[in-house]
């Protein structure tokens, strides 16, 4: 009754001069509730110890295991083999630097994004340990949390045709990150600062609107909703006659 699954896995080691890319086949008997995390580990343990892939948390939290599964970038640990046909093709994420086989380096790119966007709270305020912390209303906190749920797996940028063609593009994850600071009342950057950062071809207006980011996001972050809010804020800022220092939520 159990299916025999054929894995066609992309193999290539960029650090080995003699290596050239090819697809290697592995066969595995399917067990109930088998996910790709377990399947790949079984293959590595029992069939091929040279197979390279990334995993840390195996619970959809760390974002390391994103790969192209039958053509769609998503998390391997949250994909059951029973949802897929008998032949499963695995490729590393495009866009990111390849480390070998299914393993890519997302970290360097994400660090670069953080630095470009200065994704930390910009404030002149001093931190007083004795005072009561500033409270935020629940609705706003939830909205910020919604954007903060991003695990930086890189699925959205890998599935984004714009990012794959224009490597400077901030991608859905970068725009989502900056949108999170836009609504955070603790961040004192004004709308002009956002405008310079985001109303660019690297920012929200580089987006062609192919919507793959939201459709492949394994955490179901409402990216398109966020981007329309950002776009309208950009219009407001760009068209307003005088400088406004108003936060969107004040």
């Amino acid at each position: 009754m159990a299916r025999k699954i054929t894995f066609k896995i992309f193999r290539f080691n960029p650090y080995d001069e003699g290596s050239s890319p090819f697809q290697q086949e592995y066969k595995l008997e399917e067990t109930p509730r088998l996910n790709l995390f377990s399947a790949l580990n079984i293959i590595r343990d029992e069939q091929d110890p040279t197979l390279m892939f990334d995993f840390v948390c195996r619970a959809g939290i760390c974002g390391s295991c994103a790969m192209m599964i039958n053509g769609r970038p998503t998390l391997a640990c949250r994909t059951l083999t029973s949802d897929l046909p008998e032949t499963i093709e695995l490729f590393p994420l495009p866009f990111f630097k390849m480390l070998g086989d299914l393993s890519v380096d997302t970290g360097v790119w994400f660090r670069g994004i953080s630095e470009r966007l200065e994704s930390w709270i910009h404030t002149d305020g001093t931190f007083d340990t004795k005072s009561v912390e500033k409270l935020m209303d629940n609705e706003l906190a939830n909205e910020i949390y919604e954007a903060d749920r991003c695990i930086e797996c890189g699925s959205c940028v890998s599935g984004c045709a714009t990012a794959n063609v224009y490597p400077d593009f901030l991608g859905a994850t970068g725009l989502n990150r900056i949108a999170r600071y836009m609504i955070d009342p603790r961040d004192m950057r004004d709308n002009e600062a956002w405008f310079e950062l985001v109303s660019t071809y690297e920012g929200v207006f580089g987006c062609i609107g192919m919507m793959a980011c939201e459709d492949v996001c394994p955490k179901n972050i409402p990216l398109l909703d966020t981007f329309s809010r950002v776009r309208r804020l950009m219009i407001e800022t760009g068209l307003s006659s005088k400088s406004t220092l108003l936060k969107t939520h004040s």
Binding site: M68, I69, N70, G71, R72, P73, T74, L75, R78, T79, L80, S82, D83, L84, P85, P94, G159, A161, T162, N164, V165, Y166, E192, A193, F195, E196, V198, S199, T200, Y201, F205, G206, C207, I208, G209, M210, M211, A212, E214, D215, V216, P218, N220, P222, L224, D225, T226, F227, S228, R229, R231, R232, M234, I235, G238, S243
Partner: protein, 256 residues
């Protein structure tokens, strides 16, 4: 405030207020987005109105002549509108094509990714998984929007020229200039039906995809994407049918 043009020296851009080069550059990007979207929206509504009015041929030639008479003779709407539309048409081409990757290799990359994500949908067995997998065909839809856009650019430019010329001078279609059922029918009869049919199909495809993308881009938080998708699908089929019927109507094959 410096007057030096900094477009060639991006590293000379520094932030800091409304007068800075970086802010102005961002303003230009925003302006381009507004122009491409705005002209697109205007042209989409124009085409929809155009197709509805043109379909009055289905109610017979006298009705059509009353409609075009209102638009041309009673009020000179057609004469003014054709210039506005032609200008919008070329502005839309210049500004909307700015995001098409210039290199063929890059376009192929887009294509490969679009097809791969579109095909992947067939392989997932959604209900069993805890991941909500949505159908994705928008990347390939965008590619079709570019293709139909190019077709509309070629055929639409010809159509605009022909109508503009014929509006003011007799081109021998019916022995007079302007807009009448006789001119339109003779144009269709002269073999141009193939142009009107193809132009209609491509322009309706282009505008329905464009309206969908525009709505999602600017109002995804207040409108439901699925409803927009259904609505734009409806627009596509209704106006496609209208276009085909109108061409058949001019050819004298169909009337109500």
């Amino acid at each position: 405030m410096s007057q030096i043009k900094t477009d060639l020296y991006p590293e000379a851009m520094r932030g800091g207020g409304r007068e800075s080069a970086a802010f102005k550059k961002a303003g230009k990007v925003l302006r381009a987005e507004i122009i491409s979207g705005g002209t697109g929206l205007f042209l989409a509504f124009f085409i929809m109105g155009h197709l509805v009015l043109e379909s009055s041929i289905l109610l017979g030639k006298p009705t059509y002549n009353v409609v075009v008479g209102l638009l041309e003779k009673t009020l000179p709407i057609a004469q003014v509108l054709i210039f506005i539309v032609t200008i919008a048409f070329f502005f839309h081409f210049v500004y909307a094509s700015r995001k098409i990757p210039p290199r063929l290799a890059d376009r192929r990359k887009m294509m490969e990714l679009g097809l791969s994500i579109k095909k992947s949908r067939r392989w997932w067995n959604q209900p069993k998984s805890d991941i909500r997998l949505k159908n994705h065909l928008e990347t390939s839809l965008w590619i079709w929007q570019v293709r139909t856009g190019m077709a509309v650019l070629a055929m639409g430019a010809f159509h605009l020229f022909l109508v503009m010329w014929n509006l003011f001078s007799d081109m021998g279609f019916a022995g007079h200039a302007g807009l009448t059922a006789q001119i339109s029918a003779n144009r269709v009869g002269s073999g141009l039906w193939i142009l009107y049919l193809l132009l209609g199909i491509t322009v309706v495809t282009h505008l329905s995809i464009g309206l969908y993308r525009l709505a999602v881009k600017w109002a995804a938080d207040s409108l439901d994407r699925k409803s927009i998708y259904i609505l734009c699908n409806l627009i596509f089929w209704v106006f496609l049918a209208l276009n085909i019927l109108a061409v058949l109507g001019f050819a004298g094959k169909v009337s109500l």
